[in-house]
Structure formats: C-alpha cells, structure tokens
C-alpha cells in the first residue's frame, strides 16, 4: 500500500471540504461510523451538528441551503437513518433546494441479503431526488461526491443522495479531488434565444394591462436586481408566489402583493383581467392557479423559465423564454419600452383597500379580546432587522406570517412550499441560524407542527443557536379545522389538541421562554425576545377559531377569491 492511500471515510470528509462545505448536519449509526470516525480528525475544518433525528438533520440542511445559497449537506446511517431523510428529500425536490445527502450502506457483499439495517435507499429515494447513486468502491467516492455537488447546485437545483457501502468507507484509496465541471447528458446553461425575447417584448409593448408573477426561480437564479430593473423600467405590476417572497422588496412601487390560496385579493382576482401575463421562475402550482380551466384564459402568457419541462406543463404559453431569468430579464428589460400603467395600478389599489378594510385591519389591529396571529407578526415587523429571516412551519400561522411579514431582502423567506411539511420550521430555523449567528432568525410555528420535530430544541440547546421561536398556539390543527368549519359542517374531527406546557419544555432545554396571553404584554415580549442574546421561546396564545382570509377555495377560480 502506498503512503498516499487514505480510507474511503477520509475521502468522504476531504471531498466535502474540497467542495467548501463548512457545516454538515447528521446522525451516526453503524453503517456510517467510519465517516464519523474521520470527522473526528477534521472537526477544525468541517463542523458537524448532531441533530436529534435525521429528519431534523435534512430540514436543517435545507434551511442552511435556502439562506446561504450554498449546498446543504447532511449524513445519516443506513436503514432507518436513511428512511428518516425521505420527507426532507421530497421537500427539497419539490422546492428545488440544493442538498447533498450521504448515507451509509451495509457492506457490498451483503447487498440484497436483507442484512441488518439494509434498505434499498437508492430505490426508495429515486422519485424524491434529482439524482442518486450507490458507491460500492472506494475509488468511486470522490467522483460521486464531485458530481453530486455539481448536480445539486447547477441548473434547477435539487437534492442528491449518495449511498456509500461500509466497505467502500473502510477500504483505502488515492485521494485526488477534481471538481465536476459538467458532463454530456446534463445541460445546465441554456442560452436565451433572441427571437423569444423579441416576441415577448412585442407582446409586452402592446399590452394595456400587463402583469408579472415571480417565483423562487428569481432567487435561485440570483436575478433579484434584474427583476427590479425590469420592473423599474417597464412599470408593470408584480406579484409574488409563496417562495418568491423576498425576491423583490415589498416596498417596491410595482409590488402589488401575493398570489395563491391565501394570497392577496387584488393579485389573485386581477390575474383574470390582465392582457399579458409574464411568469418569471414560477411553475403555476395549483395553489396559485385555482381552477385551471378558468385561469388567465384572456391573457397571452409569457413564461421565463430555466426548466424546459415546466414549459406548457400546466399553463400553455404564447412565448416561452427558456434560460436563466437572470439573463432573460436583463435582455427583456433592454427590449421593452419605458412605461407606466396608472389606471391598471389603480385597480390593484382599489381592491387592496377593500382587503385592507375587511381583512387586514381586523387581523393586525383587532378590537376583539383574543389575540390574532396577524398582530403578532405585525409586532415582529416593528422590531425586526431588515434582513431578518422568517422561517415558518405549515398551517394557518404559515399563511398569516407570510401575508404580514415585511420581506425586504432576498433569501429571508424559508418555508416548506410545495410539500407543506409540518415539522419543517424548527430544524430549518436551526439550519438557517447555523449559517450566520449574527442574523435574526425568527421561527414561527404552530402547536401542531412544533410537536413533530420538537426534539430539535435539544440541538438548539447544544449549538446555542440564537433562534427566536414564536409558537402561535391556537390549540388546534388550525388549518385543518378551518377547512372542517368551511367545508365539512364544522365537524371538528380530531383537530383539537391537548397540549403540554410548552414553556416548561423549552425551559427543560435551558431555553429562555415566555408565554403571552394578553394583548398588553405582546409588544414587550417581542422586544425582549428580539434583543435577547441566545435562543428564545415565545408562546403566544391566540384565538382558537380564527380563519385565514382571503381564500380561494379548492375548485374555485382566482376571481372567486373570498374576503370572508
């Protein structure tokens, strides 16, 4: 054996370091123990965070990836360790989050024998990964990791899983790392076609009521500046999807609000009145379109999109502009006229005023005694930093927090959009905070969802990550209860929760905690929380049976968006 030979496990760790990974989230076990042993030697170069569950590890990696723009990394053992990653993989796949997940696997001679903790993780994870591979030979480890990082981050990002057998980890091999720069079956750069830009610009320049919808593609393509420049010049009103929030400052004069089931009134309703619809880095999720047969039928659609499979998948477009929206938006900005649409903008304003009077004011400045979720977010807005990151779980609190949080900077929004994974927020907030301890990370979570991953309070305790956890406690699986109220005759089947003393739980983890039940105490509590040095847990007891509005009920058209 040559002196230069090192263990496969060391190759794993050194490959991660070569990819500039700074932190990984994980959980040990038999089949990944050689890698854990190697981590012990490199802990000054690569930080490892021990979560309390593998689902926590992958959501933390997602939170980290979403705020940093880097590839999130997590590791787990074979069998149950690997299967615990699946929810996070599915979440990252549908929300295009770049991840590299490394799982240990039984030794290669045991593959297919139902060995202890053997699971076909490559098979199970196939529909939930952008790419996956099993590595059975030490000499294939480095190239698989290099390829994995390249695939995760390039093109439309997504999760990659690399399953490494135990013998590959313990055998010795040479380490010469070379980064992957591309390969023949995978095209990442699509040059924008000039004719598509010309056709799009022609439609836009002729339009009387153009309307732009932007999604997370703007953030993933780092096209925030280009979007702003395009809007500044074109004067076109613009609305955001759930994951698009943060791509454009909500203070921008063209910004008209949010799309989707619980988005704003005007942006949904006026979708069916525009004449040209410009969709940028968004994929027409059914939560955005409502009934497709009655979605923007009057409009000519221009779709700016990187992923060719998204073109005409849901909404047929007049002009498809393939390529990174960073490129296409700047070319389009050059090609369109300087313009303004005062009458059209006034329509948005008129409807916004209606929403403000019937929904927003009662949410933010309630006159009834019970606290609303909206006023909590409103108070957070008063004290938060401009670049504060909001991480939310799934449910009513998610929609309310998204509706009222004042997004000003890119990558300040972390939530499970496409999959709607309860239990996402707490570990994702931890991951987001691990990227930068100096940033404010506010985790808004429901009493149902927090109990799905509440064990990660232990990770917060151990890392001292100064996450500010705001539990909006309505003693209900609120979003499901709202549907039961509206669509199932108020038959509250298994949605009410008998909850534990959350403050005691937080305190048991040595996290400073407070519970607010009265309006008069709210403002001070939020101020205390945000200036607190270290993690903080704030439980706010809110009205039990409040509903989220506006709402586009399932099967309804965007123009049937309801205010009550």
């Amino acid at each position: 054996m040559k002196d230069s030979m090192i263990r496969g496990a060391d190759i794993v760790v050194r490959s991660l370091i070569a990819e500039n990974a700074e932190i990984i989230f994980g959980y040990p076990g038999g089949a990944i123990m050689p890698v854990y042993d190697a981590l012990h030697d490199y802990h000054d170069q690569l930080r490892h965070v021990l979560t309390r569950h593998e689902q926590g590890a992958i959501h933390a990696a997602q939170g980290y990836a979403r705020v940093s723009g880097k590839v999130g990394v997590c590791i787990a053992t074979s069998g149950p360790g690997a299967t615990n990653l699946i929810t996070g993989l599915a979440d990252a796949q549908i929300d295009s989050t770049p991840l590299v997940c490394i799982t240990g696997q039984v030794a290669s001679h045991l593959l297919g024998t139902d060995a202890f903790q053997e699971t076909d993780v490559v098979g199970i994870s196939m529909p939930a990964t952008k790419w996956n591979i099993q590595v059975r030979r030490v000499e294939d480890i480095a190239s698989a990791i290099a390829k994995g990082f390249y695939i995760a981050k390039s093109g439309r990002p997504g999760p990659v899983l690399i399953d490494i057998t135990k013998d590959a980890q313990t055998n010795f091999g040479e380490f010469n790392y070379s980064k992957c720069l591309g390969f023949r079956s995978y095209r990442t750069h699509i040059p924008v076609e000039k004719t598509a830009i010309q056709e799009a610009a022609f439609l836009i320049n002729m339009a009387k009521r153009p309307y732009l919808l932007f999604g997370q593609g703007v953030v993933l393509g780092e096209a925030e500046e280009e979007l702003k420049a395009f809007l500044d010049k074109s004067g076109i009103p613009a609305a955001s999807t759930l994951l698009g929030s943060g791509a454009l400052s909500e203070d921008h004069p063209n910004y008209v609000g949010k799309l989707g089931m619980h988005g704003n009134y005007a942006p949904n309703l006026l979708t069916n009145q525009c004449d040209v619809l410009i969709a940028v880095g968004m994929r027409f999720d059914d939560r955005v379109t409502g009934d497709l047969k009655r979605y923007a039928k009057q409009a000519k659609v221009i779709h700016l999109e990187l992923d060719p499979a998204e073109i005409n998948k849901i909404v047929k477009c007049e002009v498809a502009v393939l390529g990174s929206c960073k490129d296409s938006l700047s070319l389009l900005a050059d090609a369109v006229n300087v313009n303004a649409y005062p009458d059209w903008m006034a329509k948005f304003q008129e409807l916004a005023d209606q929403e403000n009077a019937t929904v927003i004011q009662p949410d933010l400045k309630p006159t009834k005694p019970g606290l609303t979720m909206g006023e909590v977010i409103h108070q957070i807005n008063q004290y938060k930093a401009d670049d504060a990151i909001l991480v939310t779980d799934v449910g009513q609190h998610q929609m309310i927090a998204w509706r009222y949080f004042n997004y000003k900077k890119p990558r300040t929004q972390v939530t499970s959009g496409g999959l709607g994974t309860m239990g996402f927020a707490l570990p994702a907030a931890l991951g987001a905070q691990m990227y930068d301890f100096s940033r404010q990370v506010v985790c808004v979570v429901g009493d149902g969802g927090i109990q799905m991953t509440i064990q990660e309070l232990g990770t917060i305790m151990q890392t001292k990550a100064p996450v500010k956890i705001v539990l909006l406690n309505n003693n209900f699986l609120g979003m499901v209860r709202q549907w039961q109220q509206m669509f199932f005759d108020k038959r509250y089947s298994f949605t009410e929760l008998d909850n534990p003393d959350f403050v005691k739980i937080a305190e048991a983890y040595s996290i400073q905690a407070q519970k607010v039940t009265e309006r008069g105490d709210l403002q001070e509590a939020i101020e205390d929380m945000l200036i607190h040095d270290g993690p903080y847990f704030l439980e706010v007891v809110v009205e039990k049976e409040d509903n989220v509005f506006p709402m586009i009920a399932t099967g309804c058209s965007v123009e049937e968006v309801r205010l009550s």
Binding site: V122, G123, M126, P127, W131, N132, S185, P308, A309, I311
Partner: protein
C-alpha cells in the same frame, strides 16, 4: 389517444430504467412495451418505449424523461414516422400439425424455428396487428405458449445519435 414510440438515448447507468418507468407509473400510464439495448456508440444505450396516450401527455413524458440527469436525449414519434418490428413466438403441440396449419404458416410467412417430439415453435416478425392475427388463429390449434417482444424501432428521419452526444 394514439400509439407513440418514445426513444431514449442514455448513459448506461444503474437504475436509469427505474427512473424512467416511475415517470409513467406516477401518472398512471401503462407502458405497452419496452426494449433496451446498446446503441451504435459504446457506453450509450437506447430504450424504446411504446405507449398509447394523447400527444400532450407524451410531450410531458418526454420532457420529464429528458430531465433525468443521465438521459442524453428523449424524443417521440408517431407510428407513421418510425420503422419498427416485433417478433412473436408460438408453441403448438405436434398433434395439431396438419395440412390446415401448414397453409396458415405459409400464408402468414411464419417460420418453424424448432421442432421437438411434442411441439413446434413458430416465429413471426412484423407489426403487432400481424402477430396478433396469427395468435387469434393459432388459439384454435391448441396454442401452448405465446411470447411477443417489445418494439425495436428506428426513426425515419436522418438525424443520428452522434448529433446528441457531444
């Protein structure tokens, strides 16, 4: 609904067939037939999939297949623009071999490719309609076993796979 042939040109990567077929199963679409083979270029495989669906659906399928990292190119054709063949084998008991059957074999251009003491094996190569027609007839002759291959096909247009592999 129409019959389409989807061609996939791909790296020879473990699991690639799985990744392709889950695109169909996820949408509840049945694969009528599938064949996989090496291509003219080393390391590159071609997979031919026959499917009955609307053209819109086929376009979605092709887009999703092409999105698979190790797939080099995917495209589809209607039956009219491909040259294709299928092979069918029929196992018949010797006891039923008579003048009538001999005539049928001749008419259909089938071949006897194996003769055993108890049975003979007939082979017919052609389109599904042809092999199906013979199948229906042979059912009346005590057919013991029948097997039909998936479609092997080449496109009529002059593009070669080298143009996708750069």
């Amino acid at each position: 609904m129409k019959r389409y042939t989807i061609f996939v040109i791909t790296e020879n990567f473990i699991g690639i067939l799985n990744r392709i077929t889950i695109i169909f199963t996820r949408r509840g679409i049945n694969i009528d037939a599938l064949t996989a083979s090496e291509s003219r270029l080393e390391g590159i495989h071609r997979i031919t999939i026959e499917v009955t669906a609307s053209e819109d659906t086929v376009i979605q399928l092709v887009n999703q297949i092409e999105k698979i990292i190790d797939v080099i190119k995917a495209f589809y054709h209607e039956d009219e623009s491909v040259v294709y063949q299928e092979i069918a084998l029929y196992k018949i008991p010797v006891s039923r071999l008579d003048g009538g059957l001999e005539k049928i074999i001749r008419q259909h251009n089938a071949k006897i490719i194996a003769a055993e003491p108890d049975f003979v094996v007939l082979e017919l190569t052609g389109h599904k309609e042809q092999t199906q027609e013979l199948l229906e007839i042979l059912k009346g002759y005590g057919l013991l076993e029948f097997a039909r291959s998936g479609r092997v096909a080449v496109a009529k247009r002059m593009l070669t796979i080298d143009s996708f592999v750069k």
